[in-house]
Amino acid sequence: MKTVKSQFKFKGGVHPDYNKELARNQPIEKLATPAELVISMSQHLGAPAKCLVKVGDFVKRGQLIGEKNGFISVCVRASADGKVKAIEKRLGPAGGMADAVILDTTAKEEALAEGTETPTPSAPKGPILPPLDWKTATKEELLKRVEEAGICGMGGAGFPTNVKLSPPPGKRCEYLILNGAECEPYLTADYRVMLERAPRIRLGVEIMRKILGMPAVRIAIEANKPEAIKAMEEAFADIEGNVEIVVLPVLYPQGSEKHQIYATVKRIVPEPPALPIDVGCVVENVGTVAAISDAVELGEPLLERVTTVSGDAVATPKNILAPCGTKYSDLVAFCGGEKIPPAKIISGGTMMGFAVSTLDIGTTKTTSGLLLLSPSRVFQYSSQACINCGRCLRACPMNLNPAEISKAMEADDVKTAEDAHVMTCIECGACSFGCPAYRTITQFCRRAKASIRARMAAERAAAQAAAEKEKQKAEGAKAN
């Protein structure tokens, strides 16, 4: 085990104000189960889970309430005991509507006393899942555990972890990269996890190494987190094998998968649809790694996560360990409420987070932060013309031409945007961050990507329909 400095700097990147001092020294605090939980069936990337409960049901903490629905999907478990008050479409942090189970966690005692409802008989006692000994368990058992614990990438995208840990045939994972960069401004959740749960991360790494066939391990941490580097050095001091802590220069978006792979092992992931595994790498967020160790050793599924509640409009910024489905309003209340009336609420960090219209939204497995910004921290986008200054080109870590894409999309010219490789865009926001004309460059990229995806889906559907028709015709001909 050694600590090295990253030798490879990717092109572009920006230096936003990190504002991490607001919450970095706040130890993780556990939130008591709130009275109401809004547990979304779509907390991950891919198909939403299929709801298994109905209104009026009693559920126990850890009980499966949403079944994984397809290959790229993740199951959902109840994050507390309670009664299903409603199942309805709720607004998610990203602006989409998804089915959510509304759980009343206060109803249970009273209802049980009356005996009007029977608790689900299969309610587990003690550990929710039987603990596994990772040393003796097989690779398949471990993978199955990751899947049934409902673990998805906790860095933000929410990709199903069991899928990531099962490289397709013919591909081998050579490097397991632990993402501890946390380059998003304000957020300190991963930092606190590295500080306070270092042994869990180490155990998680050992389990993942076993699943992936003993790849080399690189732990990537930005240079502005010396305490986290120290904590990791201590935790991994006596680990066997090829393990290195890579200290990354402070640069946004250092936490982006592709850029982290470049900064740690100098490999370049080709354009989509290529994945990190195509260059022999698996990148996993430190929080996810800790969750894997909990799922295996303690039999504890992913039911709660650390969320940073920060911003200049919140009374006391905190890092809160809260059950998934905790409403944003409960998190804010736990931080002592609002110091000043916020002008913008962001789910996530300031660079890639989502602005939300209400605090009546439940957290998910990927909610890394909740920011309340005062009017002085909120700027307005404008519809000024591009002055061709080239700042977005210099800032773009994917080396795209955001100016051209934004100008094309202003004229609704998706074709030009596509030719300018907009599908490669990682939506990191570096272009809009530095734009002196305050143009909505990132939003134009999103719009281009959304319409290209919609067109591709329509083309796929049309091709499928045509194939069906052909088939029917052929069958008809045969019948005749």
């Binding site: 354009e271 962001i346 996530g348 061709n388 031409n401 490789h421 490669t424 926001g429």
Partner: protein, 333 residues
């Protein structure tokens, strides 16, 4: 009846929710600040006519911008200072003694025809100040090439003179065509090569803002420090001019760089965002093209000075250069 709106309203926008705090007006202001040294030097050498020219150009540009936006029914954009900058740049590219009505016509052309007709800031294919200067050079050739001597008020007899480049051009032309010219007639002084010191501080005839190389370099350094411009265009432009004149003969290379519009062109005109390429590679090509065309015009063209036309021609090919030099995405084959 509309329900009662009880909830607080938050700003809903796409990420990112953080901004570097740079703005178009700040960038324009930085360029104006960078132009202040050369403006002062111009006023120092050419006196009150320079002051009047600058004031008239700036005022006319701002007024024209406001009137154009009003006429087009668009928002007023004088707050971004781009019109102030265009006015200042145009004035700095005019001879100090130009009749003021001509400066007004030029300013109206710069903003009205060269910028707002195309849709305003960001849309113009040609540098507004330069296209106005080219327009004036063709329309008012006499006044546009009548140069006040520095400190003209101290000279009792002729207050106007030719620029060093023009003198050189006439002399070389004469030498090339007439072998009858007695040898030894021309020494350095009568050829009009000023001393290096005079070229550097600007004690030579020329446009208000182009004479003082030191003041222009100071402004360039400020722009580089503030990261308003990158080194690509000025360095390749000046280097091309220098290297070309080393090999092509004619006037000394230092004189080619330090006199005429090369310094102000390379630092302030060719680096105009809107009309120069956006990629680093494109900027190198652009700078090289400007330098080369400028020298070709100086050597073979009808005008003693070709900097404005060189930049305008390169402005025209800028979209093509952008096409050629599209960046290759990270991870693309």
């Amino acid at each position: 009846m509309k329900p009662k709106d009880t909830q607080e309203h938050f700003v809903l926008s796409s990420s990112p929710h953080a901004h570097a705090d740079s703005s178009v007006s700040r960038l324009m202001l930085d360029v104006i600040i960078a132009l202040l040294p050369t403006t002062f030097m111009g006023i120092f050498f050419f006196g009150m006519p320079a002051v009047w020219t600058i004031l008239v150009c700036v005022a006319t540009c701002v007024t024209t911008e406001a009137l154009c936006r009003l006429a087009m029914g668009r928002n007023n954009t004088i707050g971004d200072f781009s019109a102030v900058l265009t006015g200042l740049l145009l004035a700095l590219n005019l001879p100090a003694g130009i009749p003021l009505w001509m400066a007004i016509v030029g300013s109206v052309f710069a903003i009205g025809i060269s910028k707002q007709v195309f849709g305003g800031l960001g849309m113009n294919p040609f540098n507004p100040a330069l296209s106005a200067r080219a327009f004036m050079l063709i329309s008012f050739t006499g006044p546009m090439t009548t140069w006040l001597k520095p400190f003209w008020w101290r000279t009792p007899d002729a207050i106007t003179t030719a620029t060093p480049l023009a003198t050189m051009k006439t002399w070389f032309a004469a030498e090339a065509t007439a072998s009858a010219t007695p040898h030894g007639l021309c020494n350095s002084a009568c050829c009009g090569v000023p001393s290096l010191w005079n070229m550097a501080i600007g004690n030579i005839p020329g446009c208000i803002g182009e004479v003082s190389a030191i003041a222009l370099a100071l402004g360039g350094a400020y722009l580089l420090w503030r990261k308003v411009i990158t080194w690509h265009i000025p360095v390749t432009f000046l280097a091309t001019v220098f290297v070309y004149s080393l090999f092509a003969g004619g006037a000394p290379a230092m004189m080619q760089v330090l006199t005429g519009g090369v310094m102000i062109g390379a630092i302030f005109m060719a680096t105009d965002y809107v009309t120069s390429p956006i990629t680093a590679k494109g900027k190198l090509i652009f700078g090289f093209g400007c330098g080369l065309l400028c020298m070709l015009i100086r050597q073979f063209g009808g005008y003693p000075e070709g900097c404005s036309f060189a930049i305008l021609i390169m402005n025209a090919v800028c979209p093509l250069i952008n096409r050629w030099t599209q960046p290759k995405p990270f991870g693309a084959k």
